[in-house]
Symmetry: C2
Subunit: 332 residues, 2 copies
């Protein structure tokens, strides 16, 4: 069957609330810089009350990737749970406005649309506190077979291991994708997610994942080592393809015995690193869906990541398709 | 009485929804570029449905000015009407997080928090469609005497001439300010507002306004002339001080027979001109409240305007106080 979508992604549907903060603020709040921690509604209210004035933007890791795929001109679909409230309506608008198919039923009478409180320090690093809200109600029933079976690549975020029902949705999606002969891609999402769910993630990777995306701290956390080389050696062979990002040091892509080193795209200044990994995934996965070489896939990822960290907000502000064309990377 | 606030502002409390658009989009939607038009709830839903994915940010002209005053380290208060919904809560958070006093009672059981749909073209110009929502319920009862009488400068936006009850609130604020010997500042807001309310605005300016802020198209619209010099000659003497902005050509400040020409602050690229006038007003009015020379007031205005047009969103992303210090302009 021809694929209707380049990428179908499943993730936690979250509105980002992005505000500047200094290091002292993170310390006072007991927030490990660069991490994502889960918070409840009360803590969210409390923390928000002390945060600076912010910007709101539709976020959620896999949804950011879907937006990036759309910006590259790719065809994408998204599965994720918002509530039928104001933020849920904005979220729905944004993902559809980016060209993606999105029809997961919004939640009524339950928790509000999820929010991620993102404090951005002057060095551009983001520290995230997530109130999962309606995301905890994403269930296997929300995983539409058409969307999963119709995608070249099915992309799952490690964050989905946190809400219990979402893990079952995750398993269903993987099963459907495997059954339809589709590729399954996974991002580890966050080193704290890896700490919380290492065993389950490793089992899933070894049995189901074709393409793994991770950054340096996630991949080392997965194999409980401080050595990047050890972690890379450990993942090689467990998946068909692994792409590991290293911030300004670029990324490496592993495939069988081969290793491709990809340079980072130079940028003037990191304003807000939110979405870097998600946009790398967008470029990389769209490249794969379009059968480009792994070097090109990596370059598309680097390009998209560089765009998104040069401004506030987790999604591209310019057409990634046009941006790629300026680098001689023309997408179909 | 010593003033508790440098600036108390009254305005339409509006959440901005900011998205990129091309010129063809504006044409198809019949939107005059650079204008602000009022739309109803149905048209708002409709137009939003066709807009690109966006960012949400607390806006509202006078509230943006209040945020700017706070960013300069000034003391500010705000009066404006949100609803008790998600966007209203975000709005309330943002204005308080900026250090301003804000305690206008939110509206229950009425229209939603106001939204301004802002389409930003590649040249950085913004075209605004405002759904006034809860703003139409701002009434004289919301105008707290303490906040108005306790301010060095009471700042009113011309946009308040649109909702009927807000006009009466406006009149009450002016009366209280006059009675307490406070300065009254007015921004004309928009040339279309001037067209709609020319007669009432002129009457108000001649009888109540000490300080007028306007841009070139607003001041020429006020006096129904295409000549900037004619408009300037017409406003001179009708108010104590008039500051007229001219985009990249800077601004001129009139006071009695004197004219001060203020250069624009050079910037790399206009990303989104939303909030330029509001931030100019912030610098200018805070300078006045702190008894700085008109030249310094104008430079503070230029500096704040340059910061805000260099990124998406209507409020400063960096400390204007620190920015001013880098230019040798130290505020108390």
């Amino acid at each position: 069957m021809n694929a209707l979508y380049d990428v179908t992604a499943i993730g936690n549907a979250i509105v980002d609330v992005i505000a500047p903060a200094d290091e002292a603020f993170l310390e006072r709040e007991g927030l490990p810089k660069g991490s994502m921690v889960l918070i409840d509604a009360e803590r969210a209210r409390d923390l928000y009350g002390r945060m600076a004035s912010g910007l709101e933007a539709s976020g959620g890791s896999a949804a950011n990737t879907v937006a990036g795929v759309g910006s590259f001109g790719g065809r994408a679909a998204y599965i994720g749970k918002v509530a039928d409230d104001q933020l849920g309506a904005i979220y729905t608008h944004d993902i559809r406005a980016g060209g993606a198919h999105f029809d997961t039923l919004p939640l009524s009478g339950g928790p509000a649309t999820a929010r991620c409180l993102i404090n951005v320090t002057p060095d551009g690093q983001r520290t995230m506190c997530t109130y999962l809200g309606a995301c905890v109600e994403l269930t296997p029933a929300d995983v539409s077979a058409d969307l999963v079976e119709g995608a070249q690549v099915v992309f799952l975020e490690g964050y989905l291991f946190d809400p219990e029902e979402a893990r079952r949705a995750f398993a269903k999606a993987a099963g459907l994708a495997r059954g339809a002969g589709r590729k399954i891609a996974l991002t580890l999402s966050d080193s704290f997610v890896v700490e919380r769910h290492r065993h389950a993630l490793l089992g899933f990777i070894e049995t189901q994942v074709d393409i793994l995306l991770a950054n340096e701290s996630e991949i080392t956390a997965l194999f409980e080592t401080s050595s990047f080389d050890e972690a890379v050696a450990a993942i090689r062979g467990r998946v068909d393809i692994a792409a590991v990002t290293r911030g300004s040091a670029g990324s490496i892509v592993l495939s069988g015995p081969a290793t491709h080193a990809i340079a980072a795209e130079p940028i003037h200044r990191v304003v807000d690193s939110t979405g870097a990994g998600d946009q790398y995934a967008a470029g990389f996965l769209l490249g794969l869906a379009q059968n480009r070489s792994l070097d090109v896939c990596g370059r598309l990822g680097s390009l998209a990541a560089a765009e998104v960290i040069s401004h506030y907000g987790p999604r591209p502000e310019v057409s990634l398709r046009d941006l790629a064309a300026t680098r001689g990377l023309n997408l179909s």
